[in-house]
């Protein structure tokens, strides 16, 4: 994915961010960090064209994106599953209109649920699942749409720390599993430990209107640990770019 010179101005006239250029490569996990209210979530949505950028263009595999597409799929901060649908039906939602038979849809949905570790939970309704399971359903739904890019807006923020930690450890393998079509992930998060644990590259937003003020390549082997000495070095670098909040 390649986003060129993206800017966004609220209807009130306030310019949120400007001159944003982001590109992601194959099997790359990119994170965006920045102070609260700076426009990270809005930026994420402009990348998926869920909010059209005021200026700039987004390309996917060389083609310009001009409307929302399941090729660039969004995972929400608030875990969104339809309460009247089972896990299976929630996932199948991404497959409607793709010309698949019921059997094919069931097959794909079941496999995707298995990929996210929910084998056996296909018939459960969201209210019968924990927060972590619901977020897995949301991830499975996003993956079932055969996305090329996954946009994740603080996907673990509403989970308890133990569940979040467990899911973080698994997520990289789930996303870049050979059975998925996924090429890259863009994550927005306030949790810098999470960002360092998952990312290949970190983009730091700051200023008003916001810009990308710094970029860090994270070169640590996986699985990563916060006890790794390089971890705190990267952390200090991010903090120095984030402060003062401009």
């Amino acid at each position: 994915m390649n986003a060129v010179d993206i800017s966004y101005i609220f209807p009130s006239g306030k310019e949120v961010f400007t001159g944003i250029n982001i590109s992601t490569g194959e099997n790359e996990f990119v994170s965006i960090v920045g102070p609260s209210g700076i426009g990270k979530s809005t930026l994420l949505r402009t990348l998926g064209y869920l909010i059209p950028p005021t200026t700039g263009r987004v390309f996917l595999m060389g083609e310009e994106i001009k409307k929302p597409s399941s090729k660039i799929s969004l995972i929400h901060q608030s875990i969104a599953t339809f309460p009247w649908m089972t896990a299976m039906d929630n996932v199948k939602l991404a497959l409607f209109g793709k010309g698949l038979s019921q059997a094919e849809m069931n097959d794909i949905a079941a496999k995707t649920l298995e990929t996210v570790g929910l084998k056996g939970a296909e018939g459960l309704y969201p209210k019968e699942m924990s927060g972590g399971m619901r977020q897995r359903v949301a991830i499975a739904r996003a993956l079932a749409g055969s996305p090329i890019v996954l946009l994740m807006d603080e996907p673990f923020v509403h989970l308890d720390e133990l569940t979040a930690e467990g899911l973080r450890q698994e997520i990289y393998d789930i996303l870049f599993n050979p059975s998925t079509t996924l090429k890259s992930v863009v994550l927005v998060s306030h949790n810098l430990d999470e960002v360092l644990e998952l990312s290949d590259r970190v983009l730091i937003m700051n200023g008003s209107p916001a810009k990308i003020v710094d970029e860090l390549i994270i070169e640590m082997p996986r699985p990563r640990s916060s006890r790794d000495s390089r971890f705190s070095i990267y952390l200090d670098k991010i903090y120095s770019s984030l402060t003062p909040v401009r």
């Binding site: 949505r45 969004l74 608030s78 969104a80 339809f82």
Partner: protein, 543 residues
Amino acid sequence: MRSVNLLLIIQLAAAATILRVLFIILISILTGWLLAYASIRSSIFESIYIPVISSLESVPVITFFPVVLVIFVTRIGGPVGTELASDFLVFTAVVWNIWIAQYQAFKTVPKELYEVTINHELGFFSRMRHLYVPFSMPKIAANLFPSFADALFYITVSEVFSIGTKSFSVFGIGSLITRLVSLGNMYYVWVAMLTLAVWVALLTFVFRYIARITVAKYGLDTSAPIRRRGKINIMHTYQAWNTLTGPMKRLSKHFTSTFRVLPTRGNFGRRWNALSSSKRYIMAGVAAFILIILITEIALFVSSLPLNYWGYLVSYTPAIFYGMALDYVRVAIIALISLVIAVFVGYYLAVHQRAAVTAFPAIQIITAFPAPVYFPLLFAATFGYMYAVFPMSSEIYVLFLGFVSTFYYVFYSFWMGVQTIPSEFWEIMENHELRFFTRMRRIILPATFPYLIAGLSSTIDSAWGGLMIGEYWPEIIDGKTLEVNVGLMKMLDIFTYQGKIGLAAWASLLFAIVVTVFSILFTKKLMTMAREKYVIEEGVYAA
């Protein structure tokens, strides 16, 4: 009448009607506060009050008609009796929803605020003034417009009515228009309608303004649950939500608040056991006394009627049920048409904010303008063509009256339901490029199901008013009578017109029983199912 005088009379009549309606709304609000307070203080009172007003609300206004005629016109009589009869009919049109809204507001006062009033030992008046009354303001404001609209719908019925050969009327725009039409003074009919339209438009904007400022001042931030972004950025705040969804008379009772409810005061049995024995004896004595009086009154009334009179009433019962069945078919058609239009137009306006901003005030004004006032003119302009082309035109006219009297309940309800769909789900629909019918079938209709049931329930309840007016309308214009072949509402009209009040009361009673049973067996069950399964807000998990 001289033209200047007539113009003045029209202005005064419009003012009299509006003031009558506003005064009765005010009475409803004042009494509602006291009753709501009583119901949260006493679970015994609450367990009687809530079922009673819920049931009465689902009973169409017209079923109160015979009672009104008997009590106010026959027993009190004179101009006072007629005025009270008219006021009572308006009262039954406006009161139930306001009372339920106030009760809900009192019941859902946040625990923390309630504890502050306990902590500072506030008495009844202070607690009402500083907590309950302000907290109930947004809900009351949201109910002003629909109560006003509903009251206006019945002005032609409530300001002028006949029993047998005797006609009763009170001064107001409804009775004046009826008189002007009978005199064939069409120029002043138009002037009167225009005057009423100006009042309606003015008050619609006043109510919208009141709703906006009361929500801004008294609404709690914690109830602003939904954010929307981008193209589907419809309403950002509870304030806007409440202002635009004001016309939700009868709907609010179906939805529980997102606020934490006051700690429950325990069930009846536990509360009863907690009372001292002397209090228990006193309360049991009062209850027994009321019950004995009620039973005695009913027994005296029943025994006062000769046996053959009961036979006479029973002999009409099959015809009454047949008429009722046909009316239910009419109501079903009206509900179905309303539903289809509501879903398509409501969805369009929900996703096109600019259109909604201009369409909603216009729709509010149009729906508040009472159909019975302009309908005779519409009828006069079209009946020649209609009856020539469609032999069943009377049915079409009646269905139209029913439709315009009730369409907006399901329309607003559906629209409100669409508003509550969280932005995350809209993004999922766009993200996965779901087509219109997939969106409708899989997401929009299930998500709005509780709202649709509530809206349909209100639409069904209100459609009867349109049928009551349309099924039998003697002298609607130029000696022409609009009437259907068979229908319960027509029967009620004719029984009343012929002075057969006992028969009208009997038919009303049977009708009220069927409506209540329908409400319990159908509406409430569907609503329970909707609440259990189709609650879209539960789909967003945010710890």
